[in-house]
């Protein structure tokens, strides 16, 4: 039996895309762990994330010792379309995890990012997403130090899914806990609601409505730092993402076993967003936000926290929307503009627009 020579061997093997040839789309080979994978990681992610060649080649990032208690979180990001007014899945993937750390009272330090890419995704799109992530990370002062990519067959994904995990240092003196929420505390919202969800609806549902609505995706750790500097004793913070303001408040009431009373008139909504919600039969309280937070603060510190927020670009429209009350423990009540009252329940599932 003849030993196959180089030519025969090549003739028998599966023809694989040449490593040197830069295809305009992601192919299965890019997830194979070989040269193509390395090239994709180096060219697309390495540069965007500011990673050195040495950092790209290791299995785990080794990071310096961090101070004090750590906050650690992970989140998966799935959105259609991948690019929308005000941002992209890349912005969401960084800001979402940064904000989960921030509302835990932590300064975000390191992120890891995993990508599940659908075969055929234009490389230019992936590069734009990676650049958005790099820019968002730089703005948030956080480093992306580890990552992974897998490619799935065309039709088995939605362009790209991104999972990010993050570690942050809890700011000294912070003692956020639902157990500290007390009657009389003020409930503060950092700005307008429903911008992100309606920006996505505008481009996703083929509704043909034109409106100046952009996603509010933004990192909130700077705002949180300013707030905690104004008052160490902030009781609890959450970011009202999926499920909107309603589920965020319902969760805060439930976890603290306290009643929350909200003035519906106090909740800021941009006119274009309010009009779009009205038209589509959607309740803006249930629509997602990606750059807002709700904080429960001691009554005596409310003005100081509010002032600190309003001088920060992410909290210019911050406002007190309600109070923690003795009544209806575990539930949120809203006083309507005309003086009526109703309970805000936890939303059920996905938002389904009404018929008429």
């Amino acid at each position: 039996m003849a030993t196959p020579d180089a030519n025969t061997s090549q003739g028998l093997s599966c023809p694989s895309p040449q490593a040197g040839h830069a295809s305009s789309r992601v192919m299965m080979g890019h997830g194979g762990g070989g040269l193509l994978s390395q090239q994709l990681i180096r060219e697309v992610f390495g540069e965007a994330f500011g990673m050195q060649a040495g950092e790209l080649a290791v299995d785990a990032a080794v990071v310096p010792t961090l101070r004090g208690p750590l906050a650690f979180t992970t989140d998966a990001f799935v959105v259609q379309p991948l690019f929308f007014p005000g941002g992209s899945i890349g912005d969401l993937a960084v800001n979402g995890t940064v904000n989960d750390l921030a509302v835990a009272g932590a300064e975000p330090r390191f992120l890891a990012a995993s990508f599940v890419i659908e075969e055929g995704l234009p490389r230019a799109d992936l590069a734009r997403i990676a650049e958005a992530m790099g820019a968002a990370a730089r703005e948030a002062g956080v480093r992306i130090v580890a990552g992974d990519t897998k490619v799935v067959e065309r039709g088995h994904g939605d362009g790209v899914y991104i999972t990010t995990s993050g570690i942050g240092e809890v700011l000294p003196g912070t003692r956020l806990s639902p157990a500290h929420v007390a009657p009389g505390d003020a409930v503060i919202l950092s700005g307008t609601i429903a911008d992100h969800g309606m920006a996505i609806m505008r481009v996703r549902q083929d509704l043909g409505f034109e409106a100046d609505i952009s996603s509010d995706t933004a990192p909130l750790h700077g705002l949180v730092r300013a707030m905690l500097t104004a008052c160490h004793d902030i009781r609890l913070m959450r970011d009202p993402t999926r499920g909107g303001l309603a589920s965020c408040l319902a969760e805060m009431a439930e976890s603290s076993r306290r009643g929350i009373a909200i003035e519906s008139e106090a909740v800021p909504i941009a006119p274009a967003v309010a009009a779009a919600c009205e038209m589509l039969g959607l309740d803006p309280w249930l629509v997602a936000n990606e750059g807002k937070l709700v904080a429960i603060v001691p009554a005596e510190a409310a003005q100081a926290v509010l002032a600190a927020m309003q001088t920060h670009p992410r909290g210019r429209d911050a406002v007190v929307i309600g109070r923690v009350v003795e009544d209806h423990p575990g539930r949120v009540a809203v006083r309507t503009a005309i003086g009526g009252r109703r309970i805000v329940p936890m939303p059920v599932g996905e938002l389904l627009p009404r018929i008429c």
Binding site: L280, G339, G340, R342, R354, C356
Partner: protein, 364 residues
């Protein structure tokens, strides 16, 4: 929001509430027919602000709530056919059929898509000629013009792959069914403003005269609703009956002639099954013979299952009594316990316009 803010004005609202309180010298039961009005009453907390003399009874005007179980079953059977893309308004998807909902059918692999307009479904039929597009045409007189328009358009463009599963229902026959019910406690009706903006005041004068009831065509914002209630109370207190229009910014006596002509070209009146109310004669529309080629019920003949025990119309949901105003949602023994928006036993717990869901969401 311009043009809405004035109709949610706290000052005007308070004045109307005070007027109603002074006018009503005895208890009155007023039915708001439309689910949109129920939703608005509860959402703004109006039901709690009205004087104790006024009881609002929530009527059968939520299209999702009155769509029969067999229709959902038929829609699911169609959705599971591999060649079909089933298009629906969003809030139909959670409604329980006898076995499952359309959301569950979607999870099992049915191609079910939410659209905002029937014209989106027509567009889909154009862009996917290899697939069969079936649109769930449900609703009251309000959705009928757009649904009729979609069929006309598909017919005109020769889109043989577009069909509709129709369950169009009509308000006046439902009001009449309630008036004929000996158990009914309804003293007066707020007629749905959006229906009247299409159909005009139509059949109402005859109904009001025959049954001696006040009917006031009413809008949906707090000020609209309170003005409608105020006018019914004035009529009730004076012992008058008849039809008044408290929503004149949208409704004329004749309605929208173009919309009506389109409806009457595409649809014809038929007997119709209502979830919770049963069959009501001449209370629905079906596609007229000229458009029968786009009728999904003819294209995909369906034989309902024979498992009455699992039919939520029969046991254990009491939504029929809720829809006729005989039972308050929160007085149903299942309310908030076995029956919640997460696992609704009847359609009135599904749509945010359904009386049970409206009560549940408002923490009643």
């Amino acid at each position: 929001m311009k043009h809405l803010g004035e109709f949610r004005d706290a000052h005007i609202t308070r004045r109307l509430l005070s007027d109603i309180g002074q006018l009503a010298t005895r208890p009155w039961s007023i039915m708001e027919v439309c689910g949109g009005q129920t939703h608005s009453l509860i959402h703004h907390g109006l039901d709690r602000l009205l004087p104790p003399t006024i009881e609002m009874i929530h009527g059968p005007g939520c299209p999702v709530c009155v769509t029969p179980t067999s229709y959902i079953d038929q829609a699911i059977a169609i959705a599971m056919r591999p060649e079909v893309i089933l298009c629906s308004f969003g809030d139909m998807l959670r409604v329980p059929g006898s076995q499952e909902s359309l959301l569950a059918a979607k999870a099992r692999g049915g191609d079910v898509r939410v659209v905002y307009s029937p014209l989106d479904a027509v567009r889909l039929a154009e862009t996917c000629p290899e697939r069969e597009i079936v649109f769930l045409a449900i609703g009251f007189e309000t959705t009928a013009p757009a649904n009729a328009m979609a069929v006309k358009l598909a017919h005109h463009r020769g889109l043989g792959n577009f069909s509709m599963l129709v369950s169009q229902v009509l308000v006046p026959p439902a009001i009449e069914a309630i008036l004929r019910d000996p158990a009914s406690r309804v003293d007066a009706f707020l007629a749905a403003g959006h229906v009247a903006s299409v159909m005009g005041t139509g059949d109402y004068p005859e109904l009001a005269t025959r049954y001696g009831v006040p009917i006031v065509v009413t809008g949906f914002e707090p000020v609209d609703l309170l003005e409608g209630i105020r006018r019914t109370v004035v009529m009730l207190e004076e012992g008058r009956y008849g039809v008044e229009n408290a929503y004149s910014r949208a409704v004329t006596d004749d309605g929208n002639p173009v919309a009506k002509a389109t409806i009457h070209e595409v649809f014809q009146v038929c007997d119709q099954e209502w979830r919770g109310l049963g069959w009501i004669p001449h209370s629905g529309w079906e596609l007229a013979p000229a458009y029968a080629g786009h009728d999904a019920s003819l294209r995909y003949p369906f034989h309902a299952g024979t498992e009455p025990a699992s039919d939520p119309d029969i046991v254990p949901c009491r939504s029929g009594e809720v829809l006729r105003g005989l039972l308050k949602p929160c007085d149903c023994p299942l309310f908030g316990k076995e029956c919640t928006p997460q696992s609704p036993l009847g359609a009135t717990m599904v749509s945010s316009e359904g009386a049970c869901a409206a009560y549940f969401h408002a923490g009643r």
